[in-house]
């Protein structure tokens, strides 16, 4: 890895990278690392890809990638070892991959997914295949200014911005990125190319803070994970609900494949001839009928309802119990792909209907919200309402016209007010 040029004076942990310098920065990275970033392909899908030439692809930092980058740590199919048989007997070749990589543009949910993988693959017997890849991979997180349609990372306490766990975190400030370094290797990476960065000023810091606040106000969904977990612990989900969800499950395994925290795998052999071949492991999904089926046919989870139940108990209860966090990062990808609506978003809403009604301040008025946020005073509000009677303008516009508050603050507050769905429209199906 490159070291600091010796000047190092500007390597604080808060920096600015102007967007016109981004590609040059990424080009430098490709010299020492395999660079992985979200790329918009010709089908219009954004996926994490290995980038050999920054200028030949369209890096997409707007849309959340369809899949998390988990395959760069645990490929969908990977070789554990190769075997070979000859007259002297069996010989084996252990697979190893410790390519130094930089993953650029991970979303907070994805970084949190990798942090969860860290727990799984390091506890007990250390998984060398995972750890070899993880060891030399630098994570550059991109916080989300605009949560997606099905995103609920804020409820899962894993976004939209991270407070730990990243090597580097970027915040989009329009013409520039606000750059934070977390783990030392993030700092080391930047130190090599300090000329791309300038230290952040107080204005930058304030602006970044506003972006974070604004983003947090934009979530359509607010879910109460604790309430959902309690319902599972207390066995309050009626058997009929599991049955119904089981009926709607198509056994496709998609929820597990797109999930940044699902890690279950199968192991199988792939012979290339009578004498040689490889032992592989591949992603698996607990919703598959054969997942727990034994040779001979006995299956402890024969029914789809049992498998669905197990999936949610695992993510919301067992992992919470074991690691103190649920193994859902709120990325919403299962909600994107599950056409049976047995995704985490639908599930938590379904079992917590009552709770969400209390949570969502759907019918609060803008004036009240602005007051509560300390953005205007009661006197301002009274004055604006009085004026509004004459002008007929919306309250927000009236307040802006009177210079009492700026448009951004209104937008943020309105976002908070409008984007959290009302109770009736919130419960689908």
């Amino acid at each position: 890895m490159r070291r600091a040029s010796g000047k190092g004076e500007m390597m604080t942990d808060k920096l600015i990278l102007y967007k016109e310098h981004l590609n040059s920065f990424l080009r430098k990275i490709t010299k020492g690392f395999e660079l992985i970033a979200p790329v918009r392909n010709t089908y219009g899908d954004t996926l994490f890809e290995v980038i050999s030439s920054v200028d030949d692809v369209r890096i997409d930092l707007t849309n959340r990638p369809i899949l998390s980058p988990k395959r760069f740590f645990m490929p969908q199919v990977e070789t554990l070892f190769a075997y070979r048989y000859d007259k002297s007997g069996y010989t084996f070749k252990d697979a190893a991959d410790s390519t130094p990589r930089v993953i650029f543009g991970l979303r907070s949910c994805d970084t949190r997914g990798i942090l969860f993988y860290d727990l799984i693959f390091q506890e007990g017997l250390k998984d060398k295949y995972y750890l070899d890849r993880r060891k030399d991979t630098i994570l550059i997180n991109l916080g989300c200014n605009q949560p997606g349609e099905n995103c609920f990372c804020k409820s899962a306490q894993s976004g939209p911005f991270l407070t730990y766990g990243y090597d580097i975190q970027l915040t989009d400030l329009g013409d520039r990125f606000f750059v934070e370094t977390g783990r030392p290797r993030g700092r080391e990476l930047l130190a090599g190319w300090s000329y791309f960065f300038r230290p952040a000023t107080q204005t930058d810091i304030d602006e970044q803070y506003e972006v974070v606040l604004e983003s947090e106000g934009k979530f359509r969904h607010r879910l109460d994970f604790d309430a959902a977990t309690d319902k599972l612990i207390n066995q309050e989900v009626a058997p009929a609900i599991w049955e119904e969800m089981g009926n709607r499950c198509q056994n496709c395994g998609g929820c597990a494949y797109v999930c940044p925290t699902c890690y279950c795998f199968n192991i199988f052999d792939s012979p290339s001839s009578e004498k040689e071949g490889e032992r592989l492991r591949t992603w698996d999904a607990c919703t598959f009928a054969g997942f727990s089926r034994l040779a001979g046919g006995y299956n402890p989870r024969q029914d789809k309802a049992q498998r669905i139940k197990r999936r949610f108990y695992h993510k919301l209860f067992y992992d919470k119990q074991k690691y103190n966090i649920p193994s859902c990062v709120g990325c919403g990808r299962c909600a994107d792909i599950c056409f049976g609506r047995i995704d985490m978003l639908s599930f938590i809403r379904l079992i917590c209907e009552q709770k969400e009604r209390v949570l969502a301040p759907a019918h609060r008025r803008l004036g009240e919200l602005l007051l509560e946020a300390g953005l205007i005073s009661q006197k301002d509000l009274d004055l604006a309402i009085e004026k509004q009677a004459a002008t007929g303008k919306p309250l927000g516009a009236q307040l802006v016209e009177m210079g009492m508050v700026n448009k951004e603050a209104i937008a943020r507050t309105l976002g908070y007010q409008l984007k959290i769905p009302g109770t009736a429209e919130n419960i689908e199906d």
Binding site: L80, Y90, G124, Y129, F265, I267, A295, P300, Y313, Y318
Partner: protein
């Protein structure tokens, strides 16, 4: 890099194959490195037939100073079918031993009630032979063995010699008899009225098909056994054996790590354990 992969098996050579029934064969294995497996009764190994795959199999022999050990395998899936097609001299892969073992030390001085349903005799045989090699360390030993039909009975000669021992009580049954069968007919719980136990001193150690547990546990309880005097071994799909792959989990428990041997009292309320 550094440490070798925990998924990489050691090699073992098949020394001898004994056909037990039409479905089961007993394999005598010798580790190629000459080192004993180091297992305890109740543990399992991951057996590889390279090119076909890997599956968990209980060790059937009692631990001893020699490196050789035995597995008894029912022809049930891809790997076990492939195993059945092998011959003496062939080399297979072995990882392990894995999992918990029967509490052979803790049960010293206790009366042992073994309840073996069908293939359940395979892991129990390891404990039974272990106990017989240390006969005076244990109190009474009662062995119940149930098979589907007389032809399905495993270890026939061995069990017959157990039946002749004065220091062991052996009772057997079959679900369905045939013309030659003169013994008990009925499920394994029909053997329970034939003996008495001292519930304070006795521990039941049960291994059998999933359906057996509910009834055998009820019968043991009816004899006055407390739940923590009942030891079971549960079969799950222990694919990796390392507590990672997820297949063997029941509730939050990795059976390959916290099992397959469990004290019944510890899992009686665990969802998915014994349903």
């Amino acid at each position: 890099m550094g440490s070798p992969s925990p998924y990489l098996p050691g090699l073992a050579t098949i020394m001898k194959i004994e056909e037990q029934t039409a479905m089961e064969k007993l394999f005598m294995l010798r580790p190629n490195d000459g080192k004993p497996l180091g297992h305890k009764p109740g543990q399992f190994v991951e057996v590889s037939v390279f090119g076909v795959g890997e599956c968990p199999i209980s060790v059937s022999s009692a631990p001893n100073k020699k490196a050789d050990f035995e597995i008894c395998v029912r022809r049930a899936g891809n790997v076990t079918n492939a195993l059945h097609n092998l011959k003496a001299g062939d080399v297979i892969g072995i990882r392990g031993p894995y999992g918990t073992h029967f509490p052979v030390e803790d049960l010293r001085g206790k009366d042992l009630l073994f309840v073996a349903g069908g293939l359940g005799i395979v892991p129990l045989r390891s404990f039974i032979n272990y106990a017989l090699e240390r006969r005076k360390d244990y109190g009474r030993i009662i062995v119940l063995f149930g098979a589907r039909t007389p032809a399905d009975r495993l270890f026939k000669a061995e069990l017959a010699s157990l039946a002749r021992r004065p220091d062991l009580e052996y009772l057997e049954t079959v679900d369905v008899g045939d013309a030659s069968w003169k013994g008990n007919v009925g499920v394994i719980t029909t053997l329970f009225p034939k003996f008495t136990i001292d519930p304070k001193k006795t521990y039941a150690v049960m291994v059998g098909p999933p359906v057996m547990y509910r009834f055998a546990i009820a019968a043991a309880r009816a004899k006055g056994l407390a739940d923590d005097h009942i030891i079971v071994s549960l079969e799950r799909k222990m694919k990796c054996g390392l507590g990672k792959c997820g297949h063997c989990q029941m509730g939050p428990v990795y059976v390959c790590q916290e099992g397959p041997v469990f004290n019944f009292a510890a899992i009686k309320n665990l969802e998915e354990a014994l349903s």
